[in-house]
Symmetry: C2
Subunit: 472 residues, 2 copies
Amino acid sequence: MSESATVTTRHRDPRAVAAAIAALTRTFGNRLVTSQAVREQHGNTLTWIPNQPPDAVVYPQSAAEVQQIVRICAAHRVPVIPFGTGSSLEGQVNAPFGGISIDVRDMNRVLAVHADDLDCVVEPGITRKALNEHLRDQGVFFPIDPGADASLGGMAATRCSGTNAVRYGTMKDNVLSLKVVLADGELMTTARRARKSSSGYDLTRLMVGSEGTLGVIVELTLRLAGIPDAIASGVCPFPSVEAACNATIVTIQSGIPVARIELLDELQVKASNAYSKLALPETPMLFVEFHGSDAGVAEQSRSFGAIAAEFGGGPFEWATKAEERTRLWQARHDAYWSGRALRPGAGVFATDVCVPISRLAECVTATQRDIAESRLIAPIMGHVGDGNFHLTMTFDMADADEVARAKALHERLIARALAMDGTCTGEHGVGQGKMGYLEAEHGRPALDAMRAIKRALDPEGIMNPGKIVRVD
Amino acid sequence: MSESATVTTRHRDPRAVAAAIAALTRTFGNRLVTSQAVREQHGNTLTWIPNQPPDAVVYPQSAAEVQQIVRICAAHRVPVIPFGTGSSLEGQVNAPFGGISIDVRDMNRVLAVHADDLDCVVEPGITRKALNEHLRDQGVFFPIDPGADASLGGMAATRCSGTNAVRYGTMKDNVLSLKVVLADGELMTTARRARKSSSGYDLTRLMVGSEGTLGVIVELTLRLAGIPDAIASGVCPFPSVEAACNATIVTIQSGIPVARIELLDELQVKASNAYSKLALPETPMLFVEFHGSDAGVAEQSRSFGAIAAEFGGGPFEWATKAEERTRLWQARHDAYWSGRALRPGAGVFATDVCVPISRLAECVTATQRDIAESRLIAPIMGHVGDGNFHLTMTFDMADADEVARAKALHERLIARALAMDGTCTGEHGVGQGKMGYLEAEHGRPALDAMRAIKRALDPEGIMNPGKIVRVD
């Protein structure tokens, strides 16, 4: 059971909020906005969690301005909620206790690119597509790709990953250092630009995934990768989800450095065919990509094709043409929208879990059975190389029984993942939606440790309260 | 200036220690040892930091026994100091406030190997060689290789890395989950066995590198890699350190997935020739290794050879025979001992720093000049793909002036690395030796955050006190 339903009852002091807004208006003028439309836009919109708008939205242009905002809010004990592009899926940007949304859209500069060091320094509001556009001429790219054109600050805050993670890792692996405004307005630098360090507690990794509950990210130093000489992509049909998962396990065990390996179940293939105008056979499918030299990607593609054939999959058709690749991955990225298009006008909720890869086939298959028994329409796709998969549940919001069945399916999905030594979220984060599962996943001592850390770094509880852990 | 010189003055209560030892003896019998020799063996031995033995050493056989030990020590407010193999280099196992050393040598079992998931579960006392011996038949290995045959618990505690890190990452990248006994004796599990998660604060990474100051690691779930089909290794001479560093930068930028790329300076080559009976030309040298398919390593070796030639390096001679490879990497691993052998009977202190790779040539060259001007003998070797290098300073312990010159060189080395946006330690950790540099490296807000976390998780200050951060 999510805790989100209960948190709005906490006391909220309208005079403190008014005083903070007045102080912020004096400093930020018309960059402080209180219109209903803008406030609602800055609450959660993409899930079944209700929209809880902040009391105001402010648009800083520098780290120093974020420090000013946090200091004003701290003085009045008013919550601050960092906001990137609003593409998070668990209510991370909601304001259950009201407060000030800090929208970093104007902090979107690339401050430095160190191509020799394969790193760059950016402000938090830049999106991944804008960053890669900026980097393109320099032979480097930022590999993390969650599908949505999210902001880098938000991607770090939610510890996001996506299709490339099997080769390039998640945000935890690709953030070298952060500048973070803490609850008292101090500006903390988590690490130097060296590629590795054993110097003290890993504050970088503590901040990555903390969803604004420990501080506001105002600058990121990111690892980059060289743009590979050659890229080969292809699709490979399989007779069953199990066969596709087993082919994936052997591929990874064999040390084939697959860059992406994505599972689409029958229903997802059908949805993608319809939405993205593809003509794929409607059977479980792997979308695969290899990065390397010309000879390397050819060898990898052949090796993968042979493994797929062992499990009854194939033919594996691969191409190195940019055009065909783009069309394929666009379809993959549009999977969320294709899921919505399955039932126009229906409510949609996309959730994710992650299990050890050896349990993935079992987990997906049991979930498909559960969907059928629940009389729901819910395609599945997955970053199968990591054991991570997504369920896009569709439901008629007006049909209370269907909504209840969807919520029950969601509960059972998480219980199933946890029973397999998995996690309640591989990449969407906790926000409000997954708070209620953390104790079952981590156990009381870990949750107590998280609470102790939250209290130590945010004693007044003003940093994005009501997310990840409750401390009151 | 290191803080270690001052910490021994803190009050220490002999009655509390005696009471804890009595209580531990009742439970552990002759597995609680107080002999002078054993106690000294459990203090620091490999650096110039003085040996500060614990009051007693205890040998638990299970996580539950570690919980008992910590509870007894907590009741008497007596420090606990985790001990693996004692190969740490910054005084991490010293007992500046006395206390109980917890030697995990008897907790050395492999609890599970999940070859399909490329992970395993081990107790903290197992060493990396013993683990790889155990794994060998299953086609998988644990890639982190710090040279010493360290315990996995110690490797996680110090966030160690070593020669393979350029390809496989450091301990932070290869620990999936930990079980940790906290300061109150509770047993915390940091994460599930899923390969990735966005579920709450990253307690795993917080514990990795915390050197026993936040808890005692009693179990580790580790990522494994498939044993590559083919391995090619070779040595490549260069006209200068700069040429070797530039060849490395281009190699990594080109996306060649080099598994190891190690720099030895002229003096280190000379030392290794003498100690390891090699006949290498005495010029800066890269030791390189590639992992992949037969065709892959051949292609990578040719590409690297071409890059080396561009910078005046070569010939690059590579071999895929296990025998030759072993001889080469044994020489690399014996570098510390070869450094000691340069001046038999002399004191030796091995330190490490890490800088952005673009600054590495400049940092190494300036350090070589500084060594010459300091009239010291100190070979340099480095994990050059990460920008990390080691200085093995030799000095006559009886010559106060030479010791002073070595210490001054050390101070300047760290200042130089920090000025280049580097870190005071890439892989040896903080322990006592690097505590004094943390504020210069991280700044006051980060150090305050580390202190707040330390106080939150260890309010009585019993977990390996006097390491990483001071909280009194």
